[in-house]
Amino acid sequence: MDWLLDNILSLAIFTPVIAGVIVSLLPADEKTITRYVAFILSLVPLGLVIAMWFIWVNNYRVDPTFHFVQQVPWFPAIGASYHVGVDGISLPLILLAAVLTPLGILASFNIEEKVQMFMALLLIMEGAMIGLFAALDLMIFFIFWEFGLVPIYFLVRIWGGADRVYASFKFFIYTMAGSLGLLLSIQIIGLSTGTFDIPTLMTSWVQLHPDTLLGTTGLTLSTVKTLAYWAFFIAFAIKVPIWPFHTWLPDAHTQAPTAGSMILAGVLLKLGAYGFIRLVVPLFPELASQTAGVLATLGALSIILGGFAAFGQWDFKRLVAYSSINHMGFVVLGIAVYAYVYGVSGAPNDALRLDAIMAGNGAVLQMINHGLSAAGMFFLVGVIYERTHTRDLKKFGGIWSVLPVYGGILIFTSMASLGLPGLNGFVGEFMITRAAWGAFTGQIALSMIGLLMTGAYILKGVGQTLHGPTKPEWLNLPPMTMIEHLVIWPLMVMMLALGIWPQLMLAVINDTVTKIIG
């Protein structure tokens, strides 16, 4: 038991990988067994993460810094070690990844081709995501960062829709392009400080004198820092994605299989935003603070143009994909405020400090909220696609009369995505709007156009699908299956719970954010 508790975080990272290997070794014709084995194995990391959650809530709220820490020398020659740990920012995201993976597996029970490989990829990706959220060493971070790319590439490439080759290629190359700069910058940081340890770097790298010459290059540290900052910025901006780096997302989401879209939208997009909070802001506080206006403007543009572009779609899945850009724009705005205050020189005044706490809280909470609602929306689009074999909104119509339960669930989830108060989406949006009002009044005011469009595209999706006279070709659609209900109900319960009582999650986030802002 002690051993379990000591290694619980590493276990949570590696059990999915091991489970993936086990699943991939199952015989190819045992599809049903494979599905159930994969599902049951994916509950193991979920159990571990839930245990961590409760241990945290009961013990560590007093001191919300990194816990469950493990540090093992890994590559001593370059100063890299296997260093993992979680705090109140990463723990909710780990929980999100651990929750969405079993649901994604359940949602893919209808996959018939290469079941073993599909399930194995999903499980391996879970390991990579949890590992990334837990990484406290830049090299480990980067390894998990790249590692997470591979499964989703294959998920899109093999099980995707008609245009999967283009979509997977675009996604992979685009993200890799960002990673290059990231890797280079990580090397530069390692070279200048001799360590890759994030908690150490947060003081040592930040405090290096700006005129320090870097190695034999003759470049001063301030130049190098600027370059590294923008490399980090672009790498994470592509992943979030922030406008105008977003065009890979609609393609990848639209072409991915249902579970792939769920995980992609639910967790993978958060890796970028998490990168901003965990690395960009603490490692480049002054730069991040000076350029927070850029980030906020891009966030506002994501919200507005994402909203408009979503409204312009006639492919349901692409509409939902664009909604991710719209919603992640709020996360970016929150991060901008957080960055603005975190790196401001001198002690921030109380009003700004409160803004930053709200912004940090709101950004992390909005990530969770978007993870839940986007996963739900993609799943529901998958459910209807399964039955009608189309995603064209013009071809739907009147499906509510045929599938009343599905209709109710779709409306519920859509409303969560729209940010209806009482459901989860609203809390994050409110906090971010509140936080951004002080520092970025113009941007947040303009973002309201995007929030308006959120309503427009959500209603368009719901209306075109459910409302109207039932078209004769949809009269005999089968109702939702038990497994489909099993996927969506946990998500709906969480959406409602977080909407009514957000402190269930926010308490943990708030502790750490407040501690960081100080």
């Binding site: 007093v62 190359i173 779609q313 109380d350 509140r434 006279p469 502790d511």
Partner: protein, 796 residues
């Protein structure tokens, strides 16, 4: 007091629980569903009235105590953690700092601690809030304004619930078609209807009891969703005429139009929060808090005025004021009980209620710059007059009522614009009663007409068209009398009806405002007087067209009175439509002294009396709460416009009722062009369609997606990709030429060589042996020669 707090918390719970239970558990059982919905709202009604009468009792017992402390019931819970993490060793230090710096709901810590310990205890997960620093607190509060709303809202909603059972033909044969009206048959989505109505009621009650803007906004938005779901309740319905908006599009229109207002309101809320440091009404609207806030914003009091305007925008959308009024007439596409609940008890009242709730802020805005007052007053008065003119030229029985709603809400908003806080609240309450009554009556009429349509198998005539009615007085007597009472109240028929007293108070306030030297008062007075005249006229017209004369179509011929589920609420509401006004007769009516007591004025006035007194002393607001002197001009005006309008309507429509096929005399008087202009609602819909909707769609589909994303950004990406591909192509050709072909050449030469040499491999053993011998001989010879020293000369 603790019990009252608990009861206040429980007010919205009943309907909300009914919503959840009906949807999740009892949707299949219609009877159980509607009984649950009834039970939910009835519990809310009982609780509301207990709380409401308690507060009123306090007022009757000691009016000054209520004025001293208007928030009679208050309780809140820690809802959203915002800083100062749990368990900081200097717990006490940050609690104080938090309150000071972030304005965290100071003052009520003590009060809610007792109320909330119970809930938190036994919950190891949720920290003890007293130690955990700054929280955003959600709570309920009841002051006199809330109390009068709590008196009105659940009662009106409950009446509508009773009525709905009959409206949806409970007990008849169940209808077969989902999403369209099944005339004469029981609505197949009966349970769903009651679930959504319960959610609607619950949301409105949440909004009313909210002690902060955020909780108010929660209820506000949920109502927006409910209105969307209920306006589009018959989601599959389509009309033959393309000009008529289908319910589902009306629903989207309602949601989107109000959402325009809501997002601005959300900005107003965050502005409010950042400036005041709290969203709690009673904490924010103290004189000290105002003084701090004025220093905190960049523009001082004008900044607060801007904030008030942002919040006012929300009310403009929700209460359907110009320029966002267009959604409300189309909201008639929902079932009539929905129209009633939207137009009377809940949705539109919420907008005005918001203005009343934040009235201290608006009062500061009125004092800060005259422009704010003008804006509010102009929007209200213009809306009132404009929609009154439109209502004159409508034929849809619900359409007239819809525009009258907009018009009456304009009265309230205009009243707010001249600072007539109590008059607006009073009109809100009386209007809710008689408008709910009128809508239910019109529903009853439509129901009767639909029955007639079923009877004669006519599915093309519109059962809502007043031109096809007439003579329903004898066929539907209860509905007629109820409609008459409601109509007279709406017209402001003197002395007896509630509408007279509330309108009269608005007139008096506006006139007094003018006498004090403000031109806004005169503007509002004239505009509202004209509107009131038109109101009386079109109401009489409607009554006459519907009930007088002989039936003008077979539908009306075969109409009959509705069932008792529908008529009972009519009777009950009629009582309130008349009697609600008697609580607001001015103290000094006709110069008397001591005969009348304006309960409403003093009770609701107590909400702000004390704080306004201080604010007035600080010159932050134009005037404090006071009792108007008796003035003859507004009274006469009010009598003249009401009676004049009724008389004109009677002359035109009732004295000689319309015959079948006879055109509306109005067309002749107004000229067809003007009539068309009014009938088509000033063409606002067409204008908005051209100016906003189509450009938005165009921008979304063509610019944001096709141009920016697909062409520009993806174009750049593809350009990069293509460039790399191009460069890669050249590299590939270079590689092909140099590495591929070069290495192939070397390989080929080796091949040729080996082809030459392979002849050695003859397979004949003797050749191999011979070769071996020869080689052995040569080597031996060589070695011997070396040993003999013969080769020394060569080797060295």
């Amino acid at each position: 007091m603790e019990l009252l707090e608990l009861l206040t918390w429980l007010i919205p719970v009943g309907p909300l629980a009914a919503f959840a239970v009906i949807l999740l558990l009892t949707a299949k059982n219609r009877t159980l569903s509607f009984i649950l919905a009834w039970a939910g709202i009835f519990i809310a009604l009982v609780l509301s009235w207990i709380v409401s009468f308690n507060v009123f009792g306090d007022f009757l017992a000691d009016g000054h105590a209520v004025a001293e402390e208007p928030v009679r019931v208050h309780s809140s819970v820690a809802w959203l953690p915002i800083g100062d993490y749990y368990g900081d060793p200097q717990g006490s230090a940050f609690a104080a700092a938090g309150d000071e710096a972030h304005g965290a709901e100071a003052g009520d810590h003590g009060a809610e601690e007792e109320g909330h310990h119970g809930e938190e205890a036994g919950h190891a997960v949720v920290p003890d809030e007293t130690k955990s620093g700054t929280w955003f607190r959600m709570g309920v509060a009841v002051d006199p304004l809330t109390a009068v709303m709590l008196f009105m809202v659940p009662f009106a909603v409950f009446m509508i619930f009773i009525y709905s059972v009959g409206y949806h033909n409970f007990g008849a044969q169940p209808g077969k078609f989902l999403g369209i009206p099944n005339h004469g048959m029981e609505e197949p989505m009966f349970s769903r209807f009651f679930a959504l109505m319960s959610l609607f009621g619950g949301a409105m009650l949440t909004l009313v009891v909210a002690d902060n803007l955020l909780l108010l906004f929660v209820g506000w938005e949920i109502m927006g969703f409910c209105s969307y779901a209920l306006i589009g309740f018959w989601y599959a319905r389509d009309y033959d005429s393309p000009k008529r908006l289908s319910p589902r599009r009306a629903a989207v229109k309602a949601f989107m139009t109000t959402r325009i207002a809501d997002v601005i309101m959300l900005l107003g809320i965050v502005f409010f929060y950042r400036t005041f440091g709290t969203l709690n009404f009673s904490a924010a609207f103290t004189p000290e808090s105002f003084q701090n806030a004025i220093q905190a914003t960049a523009f001082g009091a004008v900044g607060l005025g801007l904030m008030a305007m942002m919040l006012f925008s929300g009310a403009v959308g929700k209460s359907a004021q110009f320029p966002l009024h267009v959604w409300l007439p189309d909201a008639m596409e929902g079932p009539t009980p929905v129209s009633a609940v939207i137009h009377a008890a809940a949705m539109v009242s919420a907008g005005v209620y918001l203005l009343l709730r934040i009235f201290p802020l608006i009062a500061v805005a009125l004092e800060a710059a005259p422009g704010f007052g003008w804006t509010i007053a102009f929007i209200g008065a213009f809306t009132a007059l404009m929609s009154a003119t439109i209502a004159v030229a409508q034929y849809d029985v619900k359409g007239v009522l819809a525009y009258s709603t907009i018009s009456q809400l304009g009265f309230m908003v205009a009243a707010i614009g001249v600072g007539a806080y109590i008059a607006a609240a009073f009109h809100l309450i009386t209007h809710a009663f008689f408008k709910a009554l009128l809508f239910l009556c019109s529903g009853s009429v439509i129901h009767g007409m639909e029955h007639g349509a079923e009877h004669v198998h006519d599915h093309h005539s519109d059962p809502q068209d007043m031109r096809l009615m007439g003579g329903l007085k004898d066929k539907m007597p209860i509905t007629f009398w109820a409609f008459l009472i409601g109509g007279m109240a709406l017209s402001g028929f003197p002395i007896v009806t509630a509408g007279f007293w509330s309108k009269d108070e608005i007139f008096a306030d506006a006139w007094y405002n003018f006498l004090e030297g403000s031109p806004v008062g005169l503007f509002v007075f004239i505009m509202l007087a004209l509107s009131a005249f038109l109101t009386a006229f079109y109401t009489t017209r409607q009554l006459a067209l519907t009930f007088a004369g002989k039936p003008r179509s077979p539908l009306a011929e075969h109409a009959h009175e509705s069932n008792s589920y529908m008529t009972t609420p009519l009777v009950l509401l009629s009582i309130f439509a008349v009697a609600a006004g008697w609580f607001g007769i001015p103290d000094n009516f006709l110069g008397t002294d001591g005969i009348f007591y304006n309960y409403f004025h003093h009770f609701v006035g107590a909400t702000l009396e004390e704080s306004f007194h201080v604010l007035y002393e600080l010159h932050l607001i134009p005037h404090e709460i006071f009792t108007l002197p008796f003035m003859i001009v507004p009274l006469v005006t009010s009598l003249v416009v009401a009676l004049g309008g009724i008389y004109l309507g009677w002359v035109m429509y009732a004295r000689k009722p319309l015959e079948e096929g006879q055109p509306d005399p109005m067309i002749g008087i107004l000229t067809p062009a003007l009539h068309n202009f009014l009938h088509n609602k000033w063409y606002w819909d067409e204008l908005y369609q051209a100016v906003f909707v189509r450009p938005a769609v165009f921008f979304s589909e063509v610019i944001a997606y096709e141009l920016v994303d697909r062409t520009l950004i993806d174009g750049i990406l593809h350009l990069v990709a293509r460039t790399i591909f191009g460069v890669g192509g050249y590299v590939r050709r270079f590689e092909l030429a140099v590495f591929n072909d070069g290495i192939d050449w070397v390989k080929d030469r080796f091949l040729d060589l080996s082809r030459e040499f392979r002849t050695f491999q003859s397979g004949k053993i003797q050749e191999y042996a011979l070769l071996s011998v020869l080689i052995a001989f040569v080597f031996t010879a060589f070695i011997m020669l070396v040993n003999a020293g013969i080769l020394n000369g060569i080797l060295n």
